[in-house]
Symmetry: C2
Subunit: 395 residues, 2 copies
């Protein structure tokens, strides 16, 4: 075999990824052991039937040939209108490229921002694919650590120091945040914007959880002064409309960047199925009540989780105001996130993600996805807390 | 706006692309002018209803969450079995990655083969997205010219010379060929394999037209001695099953390469909708009769076109034995392909692709897609031939 390129052989570089717990849990389930899975960000509902009916009608109606590569015009228009309404930033279809999912949007945005070897900054803890995505785009990923005591919010001085030290070209942020559940306050976003302007960085803003806000509000940094021209926003139907498997998302950005990104789409994906775009258009026109229906279970489960957690001393919740996750500080047990998660899985058949899966800043933490029904979640969380307390009683 | 990366701003570099004729034709159609479009490789039928029924049943049955990134196991198995049966090369699911279309497979294969800046060879004339795809993968595209008199078949000496001059890492071929309709003979493929082995090149073999063979047979170069370990095959459901818009394809390759390509898929696309994979699986199990039904119109139209063309002296067909295209040599008219195509569109509202759209080797030629019904095709071709003859009579 000829050599594989270094970039493709090293996508997963960077030490233990903590996904061992996830795979062990899946193996136990396959063996018939009932495991409560609080691992991945997959809704416990399926895509709404009416959306699938719209898709089937479009396909059977003949929308099965090549769709326009930038996306069908009505969907680009609907997203432009939605973004204008929600953020106040005048947005036209020429600011929108439809992509086969948010992951493709993330990757493409970095191809636009980086020349091979350029440094791309991202915030630790992070969504698991981030460093690999930056490497796939031939960038050099540099993590900006955050701290549990700051609710994992990035600090301007850290961003500026990293940008200057590495002549970085881009910064990737994610609010509402996976894995922490944090929604960045306005001040944090203003600081980030300032750091981007001062260091001439592209800001790549992953906003796929923007309909999952439990407290406060979501501010898209593209709406901040002078930021529309240097921000590429990643959006998706996955979380907001429970359409994870349909792989439909988008990038918002300056017209000239989107024009280049369309050329990239022509050569890397050649567009998104027309009938899926029709389904997405149908879903988007269902309005805020539909979106709240999809978000409601997570809103409810976060509230009931916090109620259980507020009585705890060993396990502490990171202040969370969005997204379908809760991050718990379990450092009082003296265990790493990975050791805790493995021990919990063995003792009680409850699977959670070690914080270490999401970067070193989240060591000694675990992440819960709020993706099982309320009763099962309550029971699992109560067991988890007793288990943690038991560990400290032992010592 | 911060600078865009050079690679994304120059994807379309390289002079006139000849797509002006296509866009002019589309504009005329929008104005209500009836144009016979023989431009792009889109079937004139829609995806079969039974395939769409299978898709709708899968989606409504709940296959709407994240699918496994490498592809669902039954589809990987079906493709592995199909490839084993058709080529004789033992192929397992671990040799198969499902991709969102052949274009994504082409791009991903080059990410695997190339480090940024490495030279990627390809054959001129070529499918229009090739050079942009190689640039998107941060490669340096180098075209290997072919000649009309050789039916545009690549010559080993040309490949070897280019490989050595540029220390190339890969060679991209496409048989059956778009735009020429040529099916590479065994000897040509053996020469190509030899050149790849001698120069340690990855062979990236785009075989998306492998069910459209009108004469002779299709040999997959992966089946040649010592080639399975250095060949990445690009496949797709688009042409074989009239599923262009569904964006489902695959890469075949050595297990280690596929394993790395799965990491790439995780960070660039995150898989293909499960219900589309179920539809593809259904389509693949319909067997050879179904595939022949999809291929038959092109087989028939090629035959009737050659019958019209064999009486011609001004316009000469390049010997074609596969794919849904015919390449015509119109150099006797004294016009470039682009000038001829523009004049034909103006005079007779018939749209064809200038050879120049597919590279400089095809200058003075035009490409016809056999994608309108037989009567309309016959009439258009007869008009085209008279028009060409008229041009020579004038001079």
């Amino acid at each position: 075999m000829p050599q594989l390129s270094t970039r493709i052989s090293t996508l997963n570089a960077g030490g233990s990824d903590g996904w061992g717990v996830f795979y062990r849990a899946r193996k136990m389930i396959a063996q018939g052991i009932p495991v409560t899975e609080l691992t991945i960000g997959e809704h416990d509902i399926r895509t709404e039937h009416s959306i699938l009916e719209a898709m089937a009608a479009s396909a059977k109606g003949g929308h099965t040939g090549y769709a326009m590569v930038p996306g069908i015009q009505p969907l680009r228009e609907a997203i432009a209108q939605r973004v204008t309404d929600r953020t106040g930033v005048p947005t036209t279809p020429d600011n929108v490229l439809i992509t086969p999912g948010g992951q493709s949007a993330l990757f493409s945005a970095h191809i636009a921002a980086l020349s091979p070897g350029d440094t791309a900054l991202y915030i630790d803890p992070y969504y698991a694919t981030y460093p690999g995505t930056l490497r796939a785009a031939s960038g050099t990923p540099v993590a900006i650590p955050t701290r549990s005591k700051d609710a994992f919010l990035p600090q301007k001085s850290d961003i500026t120091a990293a940008a200057k030290a590495h002549s970085a070209k881009s910064l990737l942020i994610n609010s509402p945040n996976n894995p922490t559940g944090t929604v960045y306050p306005d001040q944090t976003l203003q600081d980030i914007a300032q750091a981007c302007i001062e260091n001439d960085l592209w800001l790549i803003s992953d906003e796929v959880y923007d309909t999952q806000i439990w407290e406060g509000h979501h501010l898209s940094p593209r709406a901040l002064p002078d930021m529309a021209d240097r921000t590429l926003v990643v959006g998706s139907m996955s979380k907001s409309h429970a359409m994870t498997g349909s792989r439909v998302g988008w990038i918002l950005g300056p017209e000239r960047a989107i024009s280049c990104l369309i050329d990239l789409a022509t050569t890397t994906t050649y567009g998104v199925p027309g009938y899926i775009q029709d389904a997405a258009l149908f879903a988007l026109t269902q309005g805020p009540d539909f979106e709240e229906k999809i978000a409601a279970p997570f809103r409810r489960r976060r509230a009931l989780s916090l109620e259980i957690l507020e009585k705890q001393t060993t396990v502490k919740a990171i202040p969370s105001s969005g997204a379908m996750y809760l991050m718990l500080d379990i450092r009082a047990t003296g265990l790493s996130g990975e050791a805790f998660a493995n021990a919990l899985l063995d003792a009680h058949h409850i699977a959670v993600m070690p914080g270490e899966s999401f970067g070193q800043s989240a060591a000694g933490h675990i992440r819960l996805a709020l993706t099982v029904d309320d009763d099962r979640l309550s029971a699992a969380l109560t067991t988890l807390c007793s288990f943690a307390k038991g560990l400290t009683d032992d010592t």
